[in-house]
Symmetry: C2
Subunit: 415 residues, 2 copies
């Protein structure tokens, strides 16, 4: 226990020093936290070793981040951007998947490797982009909602690809089982979203009716853990369950009390998530020119296919917003790492390709936040000149009565 | 990860249902949370299995609870009750230790068993009492401070006894090493408390000077984890480090922002601690009349010796306050369980005695909170009739400018 406390201390301290340095340099603090993880992790200093306990904190960190994002997202706003999100999600999966296959063909990899590489390229880490967009107060703009909706669709498709890849590695692919998986996943999302928000919209005090709950905070945490667990059980990512839980709980009458209480809990946990991502980097494995070239190749394919797919999916919103959305879908983050780890575990890919995919996941994660402020400004300027009040973080599009800006206040909640 | 999320969900849900039921019955919610842990744990339903991940949440839960208590405690208030706390701590260790030895003599146990039994009887779990006193808004009364101060002294002595017991089990007891341990522990406590509070008292904005910190919350969490880790490193309990960290950080100028942000984090984690304590109960091991008699005997000795020792240590404050303090020191909670587990690990005690000690720890924990409201009323009435304004939770004794009551608000923080 002493060792775990020491590691949690170290990771939190390092992440916050990274945050401090990057804020002072005017750069995205998320990047500072990830690089701090690289430095204290096995790649450089080796003070922090990856273990089950700190992994749990990292996982709860991203679960809380998406829960928080869910609380700030309303269902009808998400449904309004539904068709665009569907196009972005689908094209943003198909192109990277095809790119991964093509790349594996060039490398002469067998089919099982090709499928895992393709699966790792399709994954989108919505945690990174939504964290950075919250920092910019741009999460509730139309483009932020498209990215969130596309991420949900993306995850359903990624689950399908991963089940297919795992089946292929195990030697049997049952198409009827794959179909069942998708139906169950869509039913889960539909029932939770429509059913959950309906129930809470009808009785907005439901979460504060119990004697133990003066605010919806603890009931919300219970629902978050429950839906995150249920999502993983049916093959979806835990963060999708947490995001849905946040959207449902956000219907409560005491939503602002809830937000004020979720903020410090999320601020405590999320640095573990970002630091943990950095700690995955293996610099020793990258000390080979062949591997470096492979990383460059895989990363270029990953960025280009995802950006182009998502861009064309969102093109009807105009070039500026489509560029923001395409760029926002690029980070692979923890999802890419998890997929590669799964491939390693079932024996489909070997150590070197794992290192390459992790490096690609971290690089795609690091390059996105620095460009977001510019793209957000571009998207909001262009939509203003189009006289389209539904894009850009203007109070007019908020469905909140108070029009409170949803900026993340640097991870810190009530000040 | 799916399994861990499921278990966290289950434990939190169960604890909050226990909380709800006990609040509706007008009973202490802490007991409801512990009993919920008994029910979902291995003893009854077996839905929750003890594992490293949920243990970590339990540990962080009690660490946060003591941090929160530390934030609400001021150094000069603790020093003011210093001599009484010293007497309570010392007598509250000596008597149970002697009682444990006598009991082992009656049972005919060898010396190594006797020392571990005695060590388990001396342990005090300040988490339970301070949690219950916070619920009653009585933590800042003089008696609450005596209990907190005595718990710190208690832990230093318990560490000494445990080091002695472990040395005995390993076959060598080095007296000079024991002396060094105590010196290091006292230096740690002294330097952190006096040095830390001095530094912060001189520059109250220190924790909010970094750009990343608008409130002392995240710097406070870093210091809490660091001092908790350091405390365990030198042989003290993690909660002692967390308590000291809270006292230091509580000197910050932004203390109320800090309290508002710590509250939800503590409210999220502490149910795992109480539920976890309940889950330790092994009803199968207790299904033997001999074992039950042993539990009764050990529990009676544990309650009587701790109560009498602490009572006489505090007798100069009058009988009513001495009764409250004596009773408040009775819970053995997680500390007793940890000591017994250590004895099991080094082979000094066997499975049956372990079960007995755990049962004693849980029983002493369950019996304390129900009587506390009555004893708090008694102590505050008697001290009012003595015209002693320094006892009882009256605004006059608060060093806070605002005299805000420190009630725990049912785990919930800002409402």
């Amino acid at each position: 226990m002493a060792e775990v406390l020491r590691q949690l201390f170290l990771l939190l301290l390092a992440a916050k020093i990274g945050d401090e340095v990057f804020k002072r340099l005017g750069q995205p603090p998320v990047i500072g936290e990830i690089l701090a993880g690289v430095i204290v992790g096995p790649a450089v200093l080796g003070w922090y070793e990856i273990n089950a306990e700190t992994m749990l904190f990292a996982e709860i960190g991203v679960v809380l981040l998406l829960f928080q994002v869910g609380v700030e997202t309303r269902l009808h706003d998400l449904l309004r951007v539904g068709p665009t999100a569907l196009a972005v999600g689908a094209l943003g999966v198909v192109l990277p998947f095809a790119g991964g296959f093509a790349l594996a063909g060039v490398l002469g990899s067998p089919l099982s490797v090709a499928v895992f590489l393709a699966a790792a390229l399709t994954a989108t880490s919505v945690g990174i982009t939504s964290g950075a967009l919250r920092d910019l107060g741009a999460l509730n703009a139309r483009s932020g909602r498209v990215i969130l909706g596309a991420a949900v669709i993306d995850d359903v498709l990624a689950m399908l690809i991963l089940a297919f890849a795992s089946g292929l590695a195990a030697g049997n692919v049952a198409l009827d089982e794959l179909g069942l998986l998708v139906v169950v996943a869509l039913l889960f999302i539909g029932i939770v979203l429509i059913g959950g928000t309906r129930i809470l919209a009808r009785r907005r005090s439901l979460l504060t009716d119990p004697v133990f709950a003066a605010t919806p905070f603890l009931p919300g945490m219970i629902i978050m853990l429950g839906l995150a667990a249920l999502a993983t059980q049916i093959g979806l990512a835990a963060i999708i369950g947490a995001f849905l839980a946040g959207m449902v709980v956000g219907e409560s009458s005491e939503r602002h009390a809830l937000e004020a209480e979720v903020a410090p809990v999320a601020a405590f946990f999320t640095p573990f998530f970002f630091g943990f991502i950095g700690a995955q980097v293996d610099l020793v494995g990258l000390a080979d020119i062949g591997v470096i070239l492979l990383v460059v190749g895989v990363t270029v394919v990953a960025v280009a296919t995802k950006f182009i797919g998502a861009f064309f999916g969102a093109i009807r919103l105009g070039r500026a917003e489509a560029t923001l959305i395409g760029w926002g879908m690029v980070p692979r983050g923890e999802v890419g790492i998890v997929v590669a780890g799964l491939g390693l575990q079932v024996g489909a890919i070997e150590g070197e390709l794992y290192t390459v995919v992790v490096a690609m996941a971290v690089i795609t994660t690091l390059i996105v936040p620095p460009l977001l402020p510019m793209l957000v400004r571009g998207a909001s300027t262009s939509s203003e000149s189009d006289a389209r009040p539904t894009s850009g973080p203007t109070p007019g599009v908020e469905d909140d009565a108070d029009g409170m800006p949803n900026a993340r206040r640097d991870h810190r909640g009530p000040t």
